[in-house]
């Protein structure tokens, strides 16, 4: 049970950091953290269904990350075309 709380706490931390995020680099770090925690949660509950509060928290963080990515200055594509 303690582990599950830690996982939820990590998600909340990411949520707070998303609000403070100001650069694409920071965003990528947070996206990586989110992917890691998502995997950990899946591994923690294994075959059992992921509890609703966890699913909600994961979805919420994902939406916030997507929103933040859209709010940050658009990615410069000039390097991509070289």
């Amino acid at each position: 049970m303690v582990d599950a709380r830690i996982l939820l706490k990590t998600l909340t931390d990411i949520e707070v950091k998303i609000m403070l995020c100001k650069s694409a680099f920071e965003w990528e770090l947070l996206a990586k953290k989110y992917s890691d925690i998502e995997e950990k949660i899946s591994a923690f509950f294994k075959k059992d269904k992921i509890p609703q509060n966890f699913e909600l928290a994961l979805n919420n963080v994902r939406v916030l990350l997507v929103q933040k990515k859209g709010e940050l200055p658009p990615i410069d594509l000039s390097d991509f075309f070289k």
Binding site: A31, S35, R62, K69, I75
Partner: protein, 318 residues
């Protein structure tokens, strides 16, 4: 380079041992033959001693002849069918198929490094064919190697059956690197056998449909191939590469123009919509993969700003 050198050293060591074993075996067989002959001919003590004396020159002869034979004759390691392939998108690392690992272990150092570098080059340009010449030599990082040595290495690779070289014109030659076909990794562009001309022509339309979803460069290349029936001719492929580069520049400029046209705030909104769309359609992992995200974002901009697709642009240009 350190890894390649390490592999090359290992190959030399292995080759040395193999040659040593072969020579010892050969000498033993020769000795046995001589002994048998001597026994059959009811030898005299004088003859025996003469045979013993002769044994050392034969050994020397063997030593001298084997390397010469190796230089003169190179037997193919495989009998491959050379197929022009393009690499499918989404491959991140450079892979050497296990079949090729076994084959390349047999190669001498220069040929080995040439082949491995060719594979890397093919991976980078996402196709297993191209022009053969000084430019390729430079691109492979063989600036210090003599042109004649490089030519020899390439010819030897052809003899080993790992490379197909085609004289397109007086000054131009093309190559196809042998790669074991893997549906997941490669798409066929064209088979090189003359007998397969007709079937490949029929298949081209089908192939071009598949390529649409994979790679615009491949698609363009395929269309060009229908005009070009010479097996192994790469002219169209090379033109495509340049054309595609021009197209990318065109897209880049069009996106910049669109940015100016719609204004900063509207462009930011479009970007926001693009991010949401990519997340919804391709998943969150694409958003955090910088290269993939740029690719999908470009496609989104092409649709959003009504930028000409590669085919449309090509038609207009031609």
């Amino acid at each position: 380079m350190g890894l390649i050198r390490g592999i090359a050293d290992a190959v030399i060591e292995k080759a040395k041992h193999e040659v040593k074993d072969y020579l010892i075996k050969f000498m033993e067989e020769e000795k046995e033959k001589e002994k048998n002959q001597a026994g059959q001919e009811a030898e005299t003590p004088i003859k025996k001693s003469a045979d013993k004396l002769d044994a050392s020159p034969t050994e020397q002869e063997v030593d001298e002849h084997i390397p010469n034979n190796e230089e003169d004759e190179i037997l193919p390691l495989i009998e491959p069918q050379f197929i022009k392939l393009t690499y499918k998108t989404g491959q991140t690392g450079f892979q050497v198929p296990s079949e090729l690992i076994d084959l390349t272990m047999m190669l001498p150092v220069v040929e080995f490094s040439c082949y491995i570098k060719l594979l890397m080059f093919c991976h980078e340009q996402r196709k297993n064919f191209g022009y053969l010449g000084n430019t390729l030599k430079k691109k492979l990082g063989f600036d210090d190697l003599d042109s004649s040595d490089f030519e020899t290495a390439m010819e030897n690779l052809e003899k080993y059956g790992l490379l197909s070289i085609d004289q397109v014109s007086e000054n131009q030659r093309t190559f196809i690197v042998y790669l074991p076909f893997d549906e997941e990794l490669y798409s066929k562009v064209e088979s090189t056998g003359k007998t397969k001309k007709n079937s490949s022509k029929n298949n081209r339309k089908k192939e071009s449909k598949d390529f649409k979803s994979e790679n615009k460069e491949t698609e363009h290349h395929d269309a060009k191939n229908s005009d070009d029936d010479l097996p192994g001719k790469m002219m169209s492929g090379m033109e495509n590469e340049d054309l595609y580069k021009s197209y990318r520049t065109f897209v880049s400029l069009e996106i910049d123009k669109a940015k100016m046209r719609v204004g900063r705030s509207n462009f930011d909104k479009i970007y926001m919509e693009a991010v949401k769309y990519i997340d919804k359609k391709y998943g969150f992992k694409v958003l955090s993969d910088s290269e993939k995200f740029k690719e999908y974002l470009t496609n989104y901009y092409i649709s959003a700003f009504d930028i000409l697709t590669f085919e449309q642009w090509k038609k207009n240009k031609l």
